[in-house]
């Protein structure tokens, strides 16, 4: 029992450390990729190819003054970013990262907590993460913040539905809510990937995932050109940084989920070992998010709702119905 507790604490610490670092690295990658897609060089001056820019930014964020506006609701203002960051990491707890491996005769499951309702847990944790922007926007006594949180509410109400419904069909197929089981269901190679059975669900999930992580084309919460910085307008220093650690952690989570649910998870892929396979898949989805950001314009909040309620949700329900029918026959 003690061993489990120690193991879990170590895993949790590792996840937080690694994924925080990855989030930072994510910002660097994003800047580089956006730069190349726009014929620029991106960060170049700190370290080779600007790689140490992450460290520089980190130092900056940590040392920057933490400003709390005079009329803000101080307590909520202060905890809002923590909600975002914390929920992002909590969600990661139920994500199996690699296949199990053995060190010194001790089998390690690279998942913090393999709970049998993993998918529900992740979705729930990520959804509660949206309280961060919602509360931050309302607590800061700033009109851009208020608009930001109003938009958060829109997003909240619209896309949770699509995420849930889109995953319902694969869940029905697999018959479990644990991601380990999903992984296990696709061991038979590329042909067994769920994406072939559920392409519509995959597309819906990806769209909803973009919205969930607040990425272009759905970055309406803090769209600079419209509402300064939305919910993050009054934030500075590390509090602001936490929002972004949360955002990038969420991006990674979504990428993991997409790979695990639809793309065969960490099963071996041809000659590739499972660990490498999942890394490649996750990287691709992460890259996709940046790629889309560089390519597509963002949409208006009303278009977002229209798309969700009038297009995506009916399609998702249809998908569930059809899946159910096919399964019954």
């Amino acid at each position: 029992m003690d061993a489990i507790i120690i193991e879990t604490i170590v895993k949790a610490a590792l996840v937080i450390a690694v994924f925080s670092a990855l989030a930072g690295f994510g910002t660097f990658i994003e800047r580089k990729i956006l730069a190349f897609m726009q014929r620029r060089l991106g960060p170049m001056h700190v370290g080779p190819f600007g790689i140490l820019q992450i460290a520089a930014d980190g130092i900056k964020l940590f040392t920057k003054e933490d400003i709390i506006p005079q009329h803000a609701n101080k307590f909520i203002f202060m905890i809002a970013p923590i909600i975002t960051a914390a929920t992002a990491f909590i969600a990661l707890a139920a994500v199996p990262i690699f296949p199990e491996f053995t060190v010194f005769g001790y089998t390690i499951h690279p998942i913090v907590a393999d709970i049998n309702v993993g998918i529900l847990f992740i979705l729930g944790a990520m959804a509660s993460g949206l309280y961060g922007p919602l509360l931050a926007g309302m607590a800061q006594a700033n009109k851009w913040g208020i608009i930001g949180s109003a938009r958060t509410a829109i997003l909240f109400m619209s896309y949770e539905v699509v995420t849930g419904l889109s995953l319902l069909a694969p869940i029905m197929l697999v018959g479990s809510l644990s991601l380990i089981d999903f992984n296990a269901a696709q061991t038979g190679g590329v042909g067994e990937w769920l994406v072939w059975q559920q392409p519509v669900a995959f597309i819906l999930f990806i769209i909803a995932g973009f919205a969930e992580t607040n990425r272009t084309p759905f970055d309406i919460l803090e769209h600079e050109a419209e509402i300064i910085s939305g919910y993050a307008t009054e934030y500075s220093g590390m509090r602001w940084g936490m929002f972004f650690i949360g955002e990038y952690a969420n991006m990674i989570t979504i990428s993991f989920m997409a790979s695990l649910i639809f793309f065969g998870g960490f099963n071996e892929w041809g000659i590739l070992p499972g660990g490498l396979a999942i890394l490649l898949k996750v990287s691709f989805f992460f890259f996709l998010m940046l790629w889309v950001r560089a390519s597509w314009p963002h949409i208006r909040p009303d278009q977002l709702m229209w798309l969700c309620w009038k297009v995506l949700m009916p399609i998702a329900i249809l998908n569930v119905l059809i899946t159910g029918l096919v399964m019954m026959l």
Binding site: I33, F36, M37, Q38, R39, R40, L41, M44, W291, V292, A294, S295, W296, W306, L307, K310, V311
Partner: protein, 207 residues
Amino acid sequence: MSLNKFKDRNVGVQNYTLIEHEAFPQTGGEKFARVLKRTIKGELFVGLWVTMRTMILALFNGEIHTVKYPFEKLPISPRYRAIHDMLRLLESGHYRCIGCGLCEKICIADCIKMDTKYDENQRKEVTEYTINFGRCIFCGYCAEVCPELAIVHGGRYETASQQRASFSIFDDMLTPIDALKEQKEYPGFGAVSPNADDNIKKTPLAY
């Protein structure tokens, strides 16, 4: 060439191409149809391809447009209107400014000031001349009005500094006396037109 082209004073509009765009969808059905159409047509993937292609070219073909300012600088047009220079007479090295005050008067931002006095040689001496670059809008009027081609725009466009005064004093703007040989005439606003000689009427001085 016909003059019609010049008589059309709608500057800029002539080269516009109007884009025909389809009618906006009115009903929900139409809107849905458009979404469907666009989705199927793969417009979004064209967008993705454009950025991907750019990235590939950038990475593997070196098509990067970044200029590493301040390590690299692009040449500016000789007619560019940057921080002013005060020129000297080539022969005597005396500053050209006669203190007529026309630049001070015309300056749209009211940022030129000058102090003058009667000097020992019975001439008007410009004891100090300054431009408040916190206000100057680099319109070039001063260079255009100057009858002596004394004040011109120079090439110093890097105007960030801790003190405005760093640029704005007579001595800073004046061509250094040892650099007189390198002093260049300014071809922009206020320069002598190429046919200036033809336009001058001569006063009879037959004696």
